[in-house]
């Protein structure tokens, strides 16, 4: 199978995150090898990454759009989300207190990237001062892969 690639550019505004999810759903619908549940997980991860990208553009007040690219091939479905925000260091995100700690309730934010990591099979975050690219992969046969 040759890869199918769909590219989408959206204004960096909250109301367009739903469109990113829609495109992922539609792309996944052409890929019968991904179970609905895994498509839902991928949509959630894409939504989190788009939300971060939009917030990153908001922070520096740029009119640039956020770019998504969805690629379906033999391995699975890959979605990349790219922004032109000022970047961050994904290895230095704060750890959350354990869930038994009442301090846990201080954390209304910071759940996005942990969710992304838990939901999809492969996550790659590349970030610099010029922007961030998040690559998410949902594999057709996750079981074949050694964690």
């Amino acid at each position: 199978m040759a890869a199918d690639v769909v590219a989408l550019e959206i204004p960096a505004r909250a109301e367009f995150v739903a469109l990113a999810r829609l495109v992922v759903s539609a792309m996944a619908a052409t890929d019968i090898q991904l179970a609905d549940e895994r498509v839902d997980d991928l949509k959630l991860a894409v939504s989190e990454a788009c939300t971060n990208a939009i917030e990153a553009h908001g922070a520096i007040d740029t009119a640039e759009r956020v770019r998504l690219s969805c690629r379906a091939d033999d391995r699975g479905l890959e979605v990349s989300i790219e922004d032109r925000g000022s970047g961050f260091d994904p290895s230095r995100l704060p750890d959350h207190p354990p869930v038994t700690d009442p301090d846990r309730l201080k954390f209304e934010r910071g759940l996005g990237i942990p969710l992304i990591r838990a939901l999809v099979d492969e996550v790659e975050i590349t970030s610099s001062q010029g922007g961030t690219a998040v690559r998410l992969v949902m594999l057709h046969a996750a079981d074949d892969i050694v964690d």
Binding site: A14, E15, V17, A18, R21, E37, D40, D41, K43, L44, S47, E48, T51, I54, E55, H96, P98, V99, T100, R104, L105, K106, F107, E108, R109, L111, G112, P114, L115, A118, L119
Partner: protein, 112 residues
């Protein structure tokens, strides 16, 4: 995309039913409604998530914020949820240990 929010009273509880998609676009409306209820003196809140089609971390943040606010008034916020894809998000983030999650509004309000 629309977010539906309905409020009804059941015994000592206020039940807020959420319909549609909760994401960064719709979450502010959800957050405002919750804060409004607390301000009106509703301190025992049940949030019914069974009509929710999508919920991301922004939605989780609204719920955590609501719970915190209610606890500071000696109140509580409990959830109704039977959808596995939504429950999964609470499990991954450890929030199943923070929220009481019920299978029906009747169960959530049983001590009314």
């Amino acid at each position: 995309m629309d977010l539906g929010l309905n409020v009804k009273e059941q015994g000592k509880y206020t039940v807020l039913s959420v319909h549609g998609e909760v994401d960064v676009y719709t979450a502010p409306k959800f957050r405002e409604r919750l804060i409004e209820l607390v301000t009106e003196g509703k301190h025992q809140i049940v949030v019914d998530l069974d009509g929710v089609e999508f919920l991301d971390s922004t939605g989780l943040g609204v719920l955590v914020g609501g719970l915190k606010r209610l606890r500071s008034h000696d109140g509580d916020l409990v959830l109704v949820c039977n959808q596995s894809r939504i429950l999964k998000v609470f499990e991954i983030t450890g929030l199943t240990k923070v929220f009481a999650i019920h299978t029906s509004v009747d169960e959530a309000t049983a001590d009314s």
